[in-house]
């Protein structure tokens, strides 16, 4: 048993941290304020290979493991959770299902430009009547000669509008429930594929969240991902891995908030000494640090399992996600508390971090769904 990161991991962390602090941190408040998508940063992420960390070199990825990916999303989210989720949704929810389920042609055509960061990816599963329960999917796909024709809409789509490549699910046979769902690869610009409402959100405001609208969108049969009827499986597998990304995002937010609060507590003097000398504050930090370490161990363990492919990652990813996201919420709340009135103002990044943290308990499976996944797995054993 060895808890040490490898030299590569350490170098990757330094590289991503350097990038995050010099390039992403300076404009993060302004982007949050203006709800401005970090397009320039996205391009730079591509140049550094942060857009294809886990994919093999033959598809222009870096060929690194999931721990490298977790470190990447963690370090980006430590200063800017919106950028963290942009990379996470692109990698885990679009590039990854194409990598796992795609044909060789699909991987060459779609995965490689995604991994290079030339194209951005998004994933369309959620609908107004299909949130935690995918069987409510109302978007339909109908086979028509050599094509599929898709109708319906998807909501809350991270990277929507900005992304070039979309993996979406659609119902082909309602009578079969989940087994009637299929997954497809859709390109931006396909006639009939438009974008609806842009969500105005509480947090991660510089990430883009859009509605996707399909009106007789005709795509070639070659864009079917996996087999007809396997869409639910594609979605569930995708989310298993995706949770590692969101767990890493939550971990990064927690770490960033902890550091900001620590810096403040050492400088801020009350009653003639730094507030970090007060036991009431020290105990908060002790609890924060302990939760963050526990979250990190769970996240890296899930990432390790995802890389090794020896046992199913589902339970571990769900545990990492539920624990890290709840940690992010606890830690950011305490961090704001430590800064008091200043923490509540926009002069410090902590109120943003607290707003950003909330979504990690909701998307890619709510905390309640994570517990369903964990319970199902442990009760089966």
């Amino acid at each position: 048993m060895n808890f040490e990161l490898t030299e590569d991991h350490i170098m990757m962390r330094e590289m991503v941290r350097d990038f995050a602090e010099t390039e992403a941190a300076p404009g993060s408040e302004e982007r949050d304020e203006k709800e401005e998508f970090p397009m320039e940063l996205w391009k730079k992420c591509g140049g550094l290979g942060l857009t294809g960390v886990t994919f093999p070199e033959e598809y222009d990825g870096a060929g690194a493991d999931y721990i490298s990916y977790a470190i990447t999303v963690e370090e980006l989210s430590r200063v800017d959770a919106s950028l963290g989720v942009t990379i996470s949704a692109h990698s885990s929810l679009c590039a990854n299902p194409i990598y796992i389920f795609g044909t060789e042609e699909q991987k060459k055509k779609y995965l490689a430009p995604l991994a290079r960061g030339e194209k951005m990816g998004a994933f369309g599963l959620t609908e107004s009547m299909a949130g935690s329960d995918a069987s409510g999917t109302r978007t339909t796909a109908v086979r028509d000669g050599k094509d599929y024709v898709i109708n319906g809409s998807k909501i809350f789509i991270t990277n929507g509008y900005y992304a070039d490549t979309y993996v979406i699910t659609a119902q082909m046979d309602k009578s079969k429930g989940n087994k009637g769902i299929s997954a497809f690869i859709l390109e931006k610009g396909t006639p009939g594929f438009t974008f609806g409402k842009k969500e105005k959100k509480m947090g991660i405001r510089s990430s883009a969240t859009y509605e996707l609208v399909f009106e007789n969108v005709r795509i070639p049969a070659a864009n079917l991902l996996a087999q007809e009827g396997q869409g639910f499986k594609v979605a569930m597998t995708t989310l298993d891995y995706g949770r590692i990304g969101i767990a890493s995002q939550a971990l990064g937010i927690a770490q960033g908030a902890y550091e900001q609060a620590m810096k403040y507590a050492k400088e801020r003097e009350q009653f003639g000494k730094p507030i970090s000398a007060l036991q009431a504050i020290q105990f908060k930090f002790a609890d924060m640090a302990t939760s963050i370490e526990a979250a990190r161990l769970l996240v890296y363990q899930a990432a390790f399992i995802a890389s090794e492919h020896k046992i199913p990652v589902s339970k571990y990813a769900a545990m990492a996600k539920v624990f890290a996201s709840e940690t992010a919420n606890k830690v950011t709340t305490q961090a704001v508390q430590i800064l008091g009135g200043y923490g509540y103002t926009r002069d410090y990044p902590l109120e943003r971090m607290m707003r950003d943290a909330k979504i990690t308990e909701i998307y890619e499976g709510t905390s309640e769904i994570q517990r369903v996944v964990i319970a199902a797995s442990i009760l089966k054993d």
């Binding site: 590569d8 170098m11 350097d18 550094l48 290979g49 870096a62």
Partner: protein
């Protein structure tokens, strides 16, 4: 175009300096980085390689700890590395290091040698220029711009109060000043690829240097920490009063105006 870049591992410039019980610098817990000026040299080498092709070899004198700096350089895109490590190097001074580097570099094909203009640890700014003399090639220090055409280089060098434009025949050595370029970060792919690249570790004998002949010319330095500066007076009052009081103190008390 074959390029040699000299690299040194140094403390992070944010590091606090502490002495251990024996009066030596205590490096425990200090984050080690590539000497920041060496990064400018590496970046310039990478740009030249992108333009002219060829191979970039990193050369470094240092213990196992220097491997991290070398790996970073390889991850940025350099091709291979030589690290000289020998117990006899414990007290090596700038003269010795330059002699040893000279032995190593003279066996490599090179058109150009690039170095940082100074290492932020010992701050001596000697080894690169000494290396050029050991090799018998011209050198230009503190360059801000480098253009190469054929076997001639045109460089802009920073001097006190301005710059000068110098033409020099290759092979030559240049030391990089901040402003020469913006060093890239290693990419994910670069980091993954770096471990497949060769780092040859050589002893003094491997490098062709006789330990006796490279004995230090300087006695081992005695280190101390500066006396901490104490905080002085905060001048109270509204800005106009404070400014008047400050000017008065600078003239009458400190006598510096």
């Amino acid at each position: 175009m074959n390029i040699v870049v000299t690299v040194k591992q140094t403390f992070d410039t944010e590091a606090k300096i502490v002495l251990d019980g024996k009066g030596n610098i205590d490096g425990s817990g200090v984050n080690l980085v590539i000497n920041p000026y060496d990064e400018f040299a590496i970046e310039e080498a990478l740009k030249l390689k992108e333009k002219f092709g060829g191979e970039i070899t990193i050369v470094s004198v240092g213990g196992e700890a220097a491997t991290k700096a070398i790996r970073t350089a390889l991850a940025m895109g350099c091709d291979k590395a030589v690290r000289v490590d020998d117990p006899a190097l414990a007290d090596a001074d700038e003269w010795a290091v330059a002699e040893i580097l000279g032995k190593v570099v003279s066996k490599l094909p090179y058109d150009l040698i690039l170095s940082g203009r100074i290492a932020v640890d010992d701050g001596s700014s000697q080894v690169a220029v000494r290396l050029a003399d050991a090799l018998g090639v011209p050198s230009v220090s503190s360059i801000l711009k480098l253009d190469i055409e054929g076997t001639a280089a045109t460089v802009t060098r920073e001097i006190d109060g301005g710059t000068e434009l110098i033409e020099v025949k290759l092979p030559a050595l240049f030391t990089a000043q901040k402003g020469l370029n913006e060093p890239r970060l290693p990419s994910m792919k670069g980091i993954m690829g770096a471990k497949k690249k060769e780092i040859a570790v050589q002893s003094l004998a491997d490098a062709g240097a006789d330990p006796g002949a490279v004995a230090a010319k300087m006695i081992v330095p005695k280190l101390s920490l500066p006396n901490p500066r104490l905080a002085g007076k905060l001048i109270p009052g509204e800005a106009p009063d404070a400014a008047r009081e400050l000017a008065k103190l600078l003239r009458e008390e400190a006598k510096v105006i």
